[in-house]
Symmetry: C3
Subunit: 410 residues, 3 copies
């Protein structure tokens, strides 16, 4: 019945327009999103440097599903459903922590960092611990980013990895450390949070802090600004080419985007005045003006890689009308707070921007609740919303088992 | 299926008794109420004097539907669904404000005060602004009261307008201004808020402040108090007749009531001591003791018109168990605060009474949740609840497409 | 449809394992629980000494159903649905109070303490008060404990009464008074609150305060600790036998348990140091070391009866993921606060333990929400959870009208 409703809503959908109302606000559609997307796709979880030592763990919540991501004894990253195999208690309770082994707080069943149950006190003779390991969650690492997948058989990450590595690897994300983390909850559907991020049509009137450094229309494939963009690029590309840093858009289809873009003139970082955010540059960079690599991947993250810091944004849906946004700022592992960087200076622009975007998404959600809401046309500068909604419609069609052939982009 | 349930509940309904449980507490029935009543009928929105100048606007929420009511350039009042035709963002965010044009906070689409889209920056050649006007909401003005209707084809307001104008017009509501506004949320179904207002059977034990000035049984059509009422009326009617002020009950059927009633002896206004609430009388009145015109209209408002002030009460459902009550006090447009009137003196009685009524409605709701709740008989002094529940049953029968012929009143 | 789902979930159920996910977290299953259990079975409401005098009343909430329990004029206990027969208002508003008659706060309908309507002001000639009595709720008293039942035809309490009276009666609960009451709300399903109480497998790591006095494995029918238990018992049983105080487990099947158990050596009460909680002993006891009678009854209470105080624990579900726990401490009616007992000393252990258990139950609930949750095996020391889940499965099978024959225990 739910699948019939999805099919009906997809029928109503018009490519190039925002989605029909219920996709954004309906509780049943939210449950469908969880199954069709969040329990199926690769999701950005965190940076590897957030859990540097064996036993370091970080927890997150994918809808109803608590997950723990940890550094295992081999130095690799593993992830598990964060629920004990005894009576189901949540296992790791803190947002971040460190544990030699995972011990359930309820009855102290003890799991190795590889998920195997190594001690279940008082269980009888014949109890088979091997049948009670933690349920694993798939993990892939891409340039210091931990991706997890709750599906039994995860889709391939090959194109993504191949596509983004040349852009990100030179920034050496593995040689960074966390400078700051912020988590906010927006009273809006997760797709509105993503759509908000996928265009800068709203920037001029809403993001004074961001537009100090960010070029409003720095997108080579935005049909309206190709000329202005080219002039800006020309300022930088010869230098980047000399350093071997790629800057042309990657071929990511609707799955991901990756590109290196310049800042406004006289700006080198996302700060309130465009000046450097951290004196100690990443990797072995000596040139502070590397613009920023901007990466986005459906369904849940976007990232900025600069000469002096990295920012990860992670989106996790809570309910049809609530979404968590977690932002993490990374600086060089040897940078010293108070000497090389100041947390307020480093984070001010995006803390302000996140807060502004949160309010925009919330008002968007409130307005879409109206029975009078009709999907409206995306502007040319919102072309990336075509990619996103096409991708989403495709996922929902697949989930509902119907063919959906009307797409706007490509 | 929902309509079958409504039909079943109507079958169970006994005229002269409170409604079957689910009409008051069930989420599906609430959604039916919204469709059958609040998205169909005329609703009281505000007073015209709340938005005196072109561009003044006021927002309200009819269930999920944000609506903006504004003064247009012609000096008339218009209303629109408060959702941008681009991507649906809520347009006007404040409760009240003033705008030369309506500019969407998200991407700055600009609408004229008549709802037409006059600028959508960055939209491509060929984008047809005329197809993206704000969706209008019907508006009618009745004696300074703004009524809105979300239906495509609104019902007639003719009888209501004709019926109440002779009572209200002499108070010249257009020559008033807002002295105070209060908004509270009651954890009770909207019908319990209305039922509470439709009888004074509960007054003696609950409203000491109100009963200073208000006559508990001042209702000529209340069968139990006809005699006592007549004596009270006789004190006043010859004076009112001389002034040409009507006082007999209007013929409003179940749709509305309008009547002029006397205060208790030595009282002339709804104040804690019965004294005047505002020295500057409304209109060109010189006589301070005009009793009060009491008007009620289904589904969502009641009002008092006195010699020295006007009070509007507006009910808006939020969910099955939450209802907003907004109260507005109006005084003569030339009255001076601190000289002619004192806000605390003016508002004390009804602020107290609203608060007491809120608690009564909330306890009523809690008790009706019980599986042991059985509809109980209305007392004779609750005869107006027969009108209200008959009207409601009729609306629901119409919505469910069934005949419902058992009514208590008339 | 709901019953089909219950049947399906029962099919999935494996005796000896925690229940399938939806029994714990699903809203529909919660509604089924209410009907199959809480509106059917006997429920512990309070102690008789909480309402000692005629007109003393106590209110509680069984799901959506407000109930009032009161001392009637005959000195007996009655209970009623706490909803007025006029328009359904909640009648008694306070948690506890005293009233000569029950007067509805809305329109002052007056009920005798036996529930009969004795005055309904303004109701017309011919109104039949005898048809508008309060709806009674069944009441039974068992050793000073008030049990209520919302079913039309309550099940028998005979076995329970016969089984527990020999253990409890000697503590003379009718000659006690309330020393303290605590009410907390846990964000967990009620069955997780009960399961948490039915085992001490979790005690060692979580209840340092409780384990000062309580013997972790003091259960004669726990297969793993029979030997250790016997040694402990031997210390006490000859003394108890001499006093005529029973201590062997009662025959309660899955319905109830009752047993007298010793404290740890040198401990005589549930206090932080194991010392006496109240100098004035209950009944005519002179021997302070009587261990504690521990009683549990499905679905909603457990109790401790010591030489110097009694503790009642009452569980009431609020929603699928919220449960109220009310705890009441009783001491001898002649005990003097500050002289014979100190409230903090009396209550510290169980206030701490309740708080710890609340957190455990909440984490249990959060983990079970995971799609990866699979019912896990109960440890031998969790054998009482077999009784509980067998009993629950039986109730749900009965409600769904299916046969359920796979049980773990007995």
């Amino acid at each position: 019945m739910q699948k019939e409703r999805i099919a009906e809503l997809l029928e109503q959908r018009q490519p190039g327009y925002s989605l029909p109302r219920d996709f954004y606000v309906d509780d049943d559609m939210f449950r469908a999103d969880m199954k069709a997307v969040y329990e199926t796709d690769w999701l950005f979880a965190c940076s590897t440097v957030e859990i540097p030592r064996p036993g370091d763990y970080l927890t997150l919540q994918v809808g109803d599903n608590p997950v723990v991501v940890l550094r295992n004894r081999d130095g690799g990253i593993s992830a598990f459903h964060n629920t004990c195999r005894h009576r189901g208690s949540k296992l790791c309770l803190k947002d971040k922590g460190r544990a030699n082994r995972l011990v359930c707080p309820y009855h102290q069943w003890v799991y190795e960092l590889d998920g195997s149950l190594i001690h279940a006190r008082q269980m009888p003779e014949g109890f088979d611990t091997t049948q009670h390991s933690l349920t694993p969650v798939h993990v892939e690492l891409v340039c210091g980013m931990v991706y997890i997948c709750l599906a039994d058989t995860p889709p391939s990450l090959h194109r993504f990895r191949a596509g983004v590595t040349p852009y990100i690897a030179p920034h050496m994300p593995d040689r960074t450390k966390v400078a700051f983390t912020s988590t906010i909850v927006e009273e809006a559907n997760w797709k509105l949070v993503i759509e908000n991020n996928r265009e800068c049509y709203h920037c001029a009137a809403n993001h004074p802090e961001l537009l100090v450094s960010m070029v409003e229309f720095a997108l080579p494939d935005d049909p309206q600004v190709a000329g202005r963009f080219q002039a800006l690029m020309d300022r930088s590309t010869s230098r980047w080419d000399a350093l071997g840093l790629p800057h042309q858009p990657a071929e990511g289809g609707n799955e991901f985007r990756c590109i290196r873009l310049p800042f406004n003139e006289n700006c080198i970082s996302f700060t309130m005045d465009g000046t450097s955010a951290c004196k100690k540059l990443l990797a072995d960079f000596t040139e502070p003006d590397l613009g920023s690599v901007r990466m986005f991947r459906v369904p849940n993250n976007w990232n900025h890689f600069l000469s002096d810091h990295i920012i990860h944004f992670r989106v996790l849906p809570i309910s049809a009308n609530r979404t968590e946004l977690r932002t993490t700022w990374l600086v060089h592992e040897d940078a010293v707070e108070g000497v090389d960087y100041d947390v307020e200076h480093l984070t001010a622009v995006w803390l302000a921007t996140n807060s502004e975007d949160g309010e925009l998404a919330e008002n968007n959600h409130r307005g879409i609740l109206s029975r009078a809401y009709r999907p409206g046309p995306y502007a040319p500068s919102e072309f990336m919303l075509n990619h996103f909604t096409d991708w989403y419609a495709g996922k929902m069609a697949e989930y509902a088992g119907v063919r959906h052939t009307r797409f706007a982009a490509e």
